[in-house]
């Protein structure tokens, strides 16, 4: 299914900014389980397709979609149905709070 000629993706790490609008901690460092194939790895290592109509994270194992995010300006919609769980490690990067705007 994957094709080495398709090199138009980035790393899930690059989704840290948009996802910081939803999560109080850096969720790309968390491990997520692909609901399709069961592969479990840091979301930062998933394949990010940024030049599509929204932000898509795909499983590097089976290429199914883990996460979709559509930003329409007034609202931002996060679809997590491709992830069966997300696990944060408190003592690693996953517990790093995202930067907050000054009060």
């Amino acid at each position: 299914m994957t094709d080495s000629a398709d090199l138009d993706y980035l790393d899930g790490n690059a989704a840290a900014g948009p996802l910081s609008e939803f999560f109080a901690v850096d969720v790309v460092s968390a491990r997520g389980r692909c609901a399709h194939c069961g592969r479990t790895a840091a979301l930062a290592t998933a394949r990010l397709y940024p030049s599509s109509h929204g932000l898509l994270l795909r499983c590097p194992g089976c290429t199914e979609i883990l996460l979709r995010l559509v930003d329409s300006g007034d609202s931002v919609c996060l679809d997590l149905h491709g992830l069966s769980f997300v696990e944060l490690h408190r003592d690693e990067g996953g517990s790093q709070p995202n930067p907050q705007p000054p009060a």
């Binding site: 299914m1 994957t2 094709d3 000629a5 398709d6 138009d8 993706y9 397709y49 030049s51 599509s52 109509h53 929204g54 898509l56 795909r58 290429t63 979609i65 979709r68 559509v70 329409s72 300006g73 007034d74 609202s75 919609c77 679809d79």
Partner: protein
């Protein structure tokens, strides 16, 4: 809206009457990649129309190419704001493909190799408004642009023109497709800027 960046205008948008609101003109053909590009050989390709009774109309690549072919010149408008004017396509009109199809449904879902879906009302596919295109600019349609064949519904935003299309499913009720279920508009008329819900 955030602070304005002085001197920043982004990709130039114009008052060109050929352009729907909020669109800019591009001469190249951007590829919007949402995943790995499916590589479908003509031998394994087929196109189906499935009615509400479960009846399946099926065309192999050879049968598809034997149908009446149309040459189409049209403007295309991507929801990500680029428009490309005067594009040339060759393909089979949906009117031709629906000639033998009996259905009372008003809605369709396009299905693609790779799992993509998008919903289009049946009226928008008929009456010389939509094609299954297999050539662009006189050349075989590249996989990156949806080859072997893509749906071409140029009067709607281009995400409705499903790449790698493999079939149409007739639906009694409108249902959201891949992007429509995440915030994109169910209809997607570029002249009314129907980008999102």
């Amino acid at each position: 809206m955030g602070i304005v960046s002085p001197g920043f205008f982004g990709r130039r948008r114009s008052d060109d009457p050929a352009l729907p609101p909020g669109q800019y003109r591009t001469e190249d053909f951007p590829v919007l990649s949402a995943g790995p590009t499916p590589r479908i050989s003509p031998d394994e390709w087929e196109f189906t129309i499935t009615t509400e009774t479960g009846q399946v109309h099926r065309w192999s690549w050879t049968e598809f190419l034997a149908l009446k072919q149309d040459d189409v010149s049209t403007d295309i408008h991507c929801v990500t704001s680029w428009s490309k004017l005067g594009t040339s396509w060759r393909g089979v009109s949906l009117d031709t493909l629906f000639e033998s199809v009996e259905s009372e449904c008003e809605f369709t879902m396009a299905h693609s190799y790779g799992g993509y879906t998008t919903n289009v009302p049946l009226d928008d596919l008929l009456g010389g408004k939509a094609w299954i295109a297999h050539q662009f600019d006189g050349e075989t349609l590249e996989p990156a642009h949806g080859g072997p064949a893509r749906l071409l519904v140029p009067h709607l935003y281009f995400w409705k023109s499903a790449k790698w299309v493999r079939g149409l499913e007739l639906l009694r009720q409108d249902e959201p497709g891949f992007w429509e279920s995440n915030g994109y508009h169910m209809y997607g008329d570029p002249w009314r800027e129907e980008r999102y819900w």
